[in-house]
Amino acid sequence: MSTALLETEEMTETTVAPAPLLSAGPSAPGQEAAWSTFTSTPMPVRTDERWRFANVKDLDLGTYTQPLPIDEAAREELLGRSRGMAGTAGRMVFANDQLLAREQFSDSLSQLGVVWLPLEQAMLEFPELFQQYFMREEAILGGQKFAALHASQVRTGTFLHVPRGVEIDLPIEAFHWLHGRNGSCFPHTLIIAEERAKVTFVDYYESADSEAPGLACAVNDLWLGAGAQVTYVTAQNWSREALTFQINATIVGRDAHAKALFAQLGGRHVRCESVSHLRAPGGRSDMLAVTVADRAQEIDARTFQIHEAPHTASDLLYKNSLDDTARTIFSGLIRVDPGAHQTDAYQKVRNLLLSDEAEANSAPGLEIEANDVRCTHGATSGQIEEEELFYLMSRGISKKAAQKLIVHGFLQEAIDRLGQPAIEEKLAELVRAKFAIHG
């Protein structure tokens, strides 16, 4: 990105028809290199281990355009629909990569020296920080092409810098809306928590029309300094016809503790790549996900726990419930680098199959190059036990309701690991809403 970005932003207001994405070119000067990487990188093929099991034919980008403009009526509507949690420290709302609102509910944020700005503004005001952290980690789980697309198209997003020792108690939220048909958006979240800083951040990915086709390609990077604590949640509820990508990198410093949870509810084809770099001793990363997949959804999650330093810990729990003809893919790897002794790494994926047509693919992997370690992983696939259903039904609960209860309980284990009741309740509400719509 460059300084021209802001001007481009204003330009889109007057642009009549957004260009088709594949011939769009970079969205601003400075993004040319990313664009040429995007165009020169081939589309994924299934023989690439990183795309194993995935339906790569479903990734065609040809039908989408650059982000569509947002009119005043849509703006009002989406602001009204951006309902997050009751107690938050602040909130930004974006639609089609335009900032609709930025509300700061707590004055203390800026008094404490917290920088919480739209990405393009942070780039101008804090160029050094920006340079140091913006998309510094390469996408290594197969999504390079889409990371490059993001880098060539990103216009805005959240930039959050929490200085040394500052603890923000209430969560900060951002809404990213996709509005209209066949448009696109490129949500970006960059969180930098300095030494001993503490923050909780929630991204909501939503579509105005839950059946409209569209493309979302998000990047979120979390940087944790020594002793920092960051909790990050994505509540993904894109349209049921959306093709979506999300590329996450979490860099954990000394004695820092990262917790990230991805709730996957919407989307037609969802690809989520998440990497934790445990870069210094004492670091810990909790990687969580809950997926409620139904209809013909394909939810493709790839994870990588990289233990680069000794005395680090990572703990992954991915829970998938699958109904109808849904497909889920979990492909995760734990890597313990040479010398990263006293590593404690755990990885677990559990699939709950609710229909005969659903398909769960699990590929939990280990690559261990140090001997003084404790690494385990497990993968299970099963269905609701008849006894459990029978027990609930004998208490007068209908079969359908009993099933829902069991699925909720199944997912709750991962959600509870956040240890933040307000967010847990919000996520449970979103899961309930998905069940309610679907029946």
């Binding site: 194993r52 229909s355 939990p364 690559e367 370690v373």
Partner: protein, 470 residues
Amino acid sequence: MPTEELANIDIDRTRGDFRYDEKHAFDAGTGLTHDTIDYIVNVKGEPEWIRDWRHKALDIFLSKPMPTHWASKDLENIIFQDIRYYLSGGQKPSRSWEDVPADVKRTFERLGIPEQERKFLAGVEAQFDSEAVYSNIKKAVGEQGVIFMGSTEALKEHPEIFRKWFGKVIPTGDNKFSALNSAVFSGGSFIYVPPGVKVKHPLQAYFRINAENFGQFERTLIIADEGSEVMYMEGCTAPKFETATLHSAVVELVALKGAKIQYVTVQNWSANVFNLVTKRAVAHEMAEVKWIDCNIGSRLTMKYPGVVLKGRKARGEVISIALASDGQHQDTGAKMIHAADETTSNVVSKSISVGTGRATYRGLVHVPKHLKGCKNNTECDALLINSTARTDTYPAITVRGTGNACQHEASVSQISAEQIFYMQQRGLTEAQAMSLSVNGFVNDLVREFPMEYSVELKRLIDLEMEGSVG
């Protein structure tokens, strides 16, 4: 445990370091072309359908890329043009112990098989280079109607059974190395067990490679007819050579309704051998196939025994032990393809990495369509002895539908310092303690092996652990 103490790994490598003069009546030279194929077919006097089969397989082999997008880059060090694809002493397979050449007998001596045991072994099938040199089917087995012979013989003498099953479990184009084997195969065993026959004694074959740059491409086909039972064992060791040797076998098992097959392998190739093996079984209704696999030798082993569970209530099992020492890569695993209701499979894999050794588990479990009552259990445990050792686990599990259950578990650990300390204060040396711990780690699997193998295995582990602590 301080790693410095473990730094001096010294493994007894002299065991396999022996060789005898090579006397080969037929030698196809190095390299592989369609002419090589014609040469092999002519020398072996094989029927024309095999000639076509081999030529077709060669075309597939040449057209397939190396699987380096997922496999070890070490594969690129195989220079196919420097390998000899056919060698034979020209001996006809011999029937009795007296007919076996003296130098081959000496080889057995060095392998450490006691005289008593040799006599005990029911049907000894020893492979010396490409042809079966010695084939002694126990009288009783023959009388039961069991066919046990070299596959070259079988395709001439029993074409009606051989052709029906040959290449059906593992098609030529399954992978690059199965295509290579299909093009140049020679030697290997053929077993047919008639309905209801339970072969009491395990059938056994020893393989040896004895020529530099010589690739061994044996082809084994075992058919257990309805309700029959058979156990087959193979063990291999090879002299140490200066340039790499390629071993690429194809083993096909067919267990018809209610049949049981156990296939036991103890692999101890010398540290310059590429051991790239395709092994697969088809289990029909109520049939059971069990692969018991132990990999100790070779430079790189890539072997993933599989079972296609084709009939209702079929069962597949893979029990696998891998020991990866300095410079070795044991890339092993299992494939379980569930293709019928109520099929069950079990995979237990244990690996030990020593020095710079690397052990990899690669697994595939597939429960594809609307099956009911399928169950899979997979456990892989890895033990790392030194800080330079490496272990990887890459399972892949696909499950569809609500009637099935799959579980996979893996763990990585090291021998705890407390354990070693405890044993040392009881008077054991560190090496003894180490050996005891490792044997304890694999003990429950070793017990699955037939008695004579488990003894041999324990001895091999002792040997490998000897001096692994300084």
